[in-house]
């Protein structure tokens, strides 16, 4: 098990490095620069600006400067918001996005697992059909359609919940965006769980457990559930990536000051240090969470440790 964890970690570190390198090369291949929008600028001032931001150094040297800054935890200044550093932008945005994303994943897991289990235990009942029809719809309808509809119903018509803003992360400001973000996760996890449950519930060892008089609740938790968790855990990696993508949309719809919104703004403004910083933070997050999912997977399924 220890060797398995070590192998996964050994893969994670170069992954992050290559992502940093790729984004850096890509952004430096870009035609046009961050100062293009400044009109009637004195060439001498422009030259000063460029040298202040090290834009005239050779690319490999810029990469080295950037990387060594990064290792000290410094991502450089924003090119657009002169008074802000990338670190400041990330520090303000990260808690918003992490709160959104983690709440959505936790709700997706808990509600999705419950729905899937209930549907599988009552297979072909009305309840099963209702849950699966809801899940199918939840998978197919994109976030940017459900979010405005939630706003319309609960924010405008019923006026129960605020429709935008963060307000320090108060629960009532969180409900709508997290719901919109969690719906597709609940749907997918419910479907995966139901499918895996139906498979494992008919296994011989489950029949054996029942035959020896084990209590039903214990049969389910001890024998049926364990193989069900494997496909659910392996879905966690993709789930995390899609939650981050969805978070970009959700933050834009609900006007939340998260990283996703800062990323889109940065990309439109060609604020390259901000874009790079956010990509790196996201990549680290995804690689870490995938690592966590891999390790969990290793605990659940002894076979993967051998490879």
């Amino acid at each position: 098990m220890f060797a398995y964890i070590l192998r996964r970690v050994a893969f994670a570190v170069p992954t992050i490095f290559v992502i940093i390198l790729l984004t850096f090369i890509l952004l430096h291949a870009a035609p046009g620069g961050p100062f293009d929008s400044l009109q009637d600028i004195d060439p001498a001032v422009l030259a000063n600006l460029r040298s202040a931001y090290h834009l005239d150094d050779p690319v490999w040297m810029q990469f080295w400067t950037y990387l060594s800054g990064l290792l000290r935890g410094d991502m450089g200044p924003s090119l657009i918001y002169r008074e802000l550093t990338v670190n400041q932008i990330i520090v303000t945005g990260l808690p918003v996005s992490v709160t959104l994303g983690l709440s959505a994943i936790v709700i997706g897991l808990s509600v999705g697992l419950c729905c899937g289990i209930v549907a599988a235990l009552r297979q072909n009942s009305l309840l099963d059909y209702a849950v699966m029809a809801a899940a199918m719809t939840g998978v197919a309808i994109p976030t940017f359609v459900t979010a405005p509809l939630l706003i319309l119903v609960f924010g405008l018509t019923l006026a129960w919940l605020p429709i935008s803003g963060w307000n320090g992360g108060q629960i009532k400001h969180l409900i709508l965006p997290v719901t919109a973000l969690a719906i597709p996760k609940v749907a997918v996890i419910a479907r995966i769980t139901r499918g895996a449950m139906l498979e494992s519930i008919n296994m011989d060892y489950v029949r054996t457990a029942r035959a020896k008089g084990m209590r039903e609740i214990k049969v389910i938790t001890r024998h049926v559930m364990r193989p069900v968790l494997i496909p659910v855990v392996s879905y966690l990696g993709p789930a995390i990536a899609t939650v981050m993508t969805g978070s970009v949309i959700i933050e834009n719809i609900f006007g939340l000051p998260g990283l996703g919104r800062a990323f889109v703004e940065g990309a439109i403004n060609r604020d390259y240090p901000v874009v790079m910083g956010i990509v790196i933070i996201y990549a680290i997050f995804i690689v870490m969470l995938n690592l966590f999912a891999d390790i969990l997977y290793g605990f659940l399924d002894p076979r993967v440790r051998q490879k």
């Binding site: 893969f11 170069p14 992954t15 992050i16 290559v18 992502i19 790729l22 984004t23 890509l26 952004l27 291949a29 870009a30 035609p31 199918m136 197919a140 309808i141 994109p142 940017f144 359609v145 405005p148 509809l149 706003i151 319309l152 405008l156 990536a241 899609t242 981050m244 993508t245 970009v248 949309i249 834009n252 719809i253 990323f263 889109v264 990309a267 439109i268 060609r270 874009v275 990509v279 996201y282 990549a283 995804i286 690689v287 995938n290």
Partner: protein, 291 residues
């Protein structure tokens, strides 16, 4: 008379079997029919519809859907006919969905087949690169590509295709690894055929089944990605429109003109459903496991 073809027992190819199985799948056939209708309308309505895409009716802004004036889907804030815009949007959304999938298909099949065929260290390095790019969410890479190379119709679909080939490459590599060991590949080697010929003539045609299935499932994903981009203001620009753009504009009028959000959303969602049913149908039809 011995050459009379009627005496030859009718050979049934695997493709013919697959086609029969697909036709027996009601959900997939209905879905294919719906997609066909949308495609036909997407090309017919902008040409023969009662209103044009661009025409502005100053006296009829934000009219709810009605049979009067032939504004079947109502008009938008600028007084433009939504019926024309929805199907014009369908044209762009579907075109982008198909073209991006073709780009992803080409890159993914070539890359995956090469990695699987050569295997060993080259294949391992190639797939490690795929694993690494996987760690960045696709939408982020696409937004970077669009921000770097500018924003026009061609670049939007090239960017989407250039990012969405990863899964295709993995599927093709897996298939190729299995096929590589087959006798007929060894025979091709024995004949001294060059690698490129073996890849093009023997490997790629034999991995095509799962590729078709995944491509069908990739079309709705790519339509959705284009919608995301348009929603964020990074996709197609005026005067063009797409479902994502229409939905994004509808979101702003949610209190005064709900149909502006609902109609394109329904079309987008139905299309996603249909492509998924077709993909599932194709998988059941082509998957040799169930034979």
């Amino acid at each position: 008379m011995s050459t009379d073809s009627s005496f030859v027992p009718a050979g049934r190819s695997l493709w013919r079997d697959a086609a029969d199985r697909f036709c027996a799948n009601r959900a997939a056939m209905v879905s294919a029919g719906i997609i066909l209708v949308i495609v036909v309308l997407a090309f017919a309505v902008p040409i023969w519809g009662p209103h044009s895409l661009e025409e502005v009716y100053w006296d009829r802004m934000l009219i709810a859907p009605s049979l009067e004036n032939h504004h079947w889907f109502g008009t938008d804030v600028n007084g433009r006919d939504m019926f024309a815009r929805v199907f014009y949007g369908a044209r762009i959304s579907l075109t982008i969905g198909v073209l991006t999938t073709l780009v992803a298909l080409t890159i993914g099949v070539l890359y995956g087949a090469t990695a699987g065929y050569f295997g060993g260290r080259i294949g391992a390095v190639m797939m490690r690169l795929v694993d690494i790019i996987y760690a960045v969410p696709a939408l982020f890479l696409i937004i970077i590509l669009i921000s770097v190379f500018g924003n026009n119709f061609v670049l939007v679909f090239v960017s989407i295709g250039a990012v969405e080939w990863l899964t295709m490459a993995r599927i093709v590599r897996g298939q190729t690894l299995a096929i590589r060991e087959k006798d007929y590949i060894e025979a091709a080697h024995a004949l001294g055929l060059p690698h490129t010929t073996i890849l093009a003539r023997y490997i790629i045609p034999n991995v095509i089944g799962p590729v078709i299935v995944y491509a069908t499932l990739l079309i709705p994903i790519n339509i959705l990605i284009e919608s995301y981009l348009s929603f964020l203001g990074l996709g197609v620009q005026e005067p063009y429109t797409s479902w994502g753009r229409l939905i994004s504009q509808g979101t702003k009028e949610i209190e005064t003109g709900l149909w502006l959000l609902l109609i394109p959303s329904v079309f987008l969602t139905v299309t996603m459903f249909c492509f998924n049913f077709i993909g599932d149908g194709l998988r059941d039809a082509l998957d040799p496991k169930d034979r």
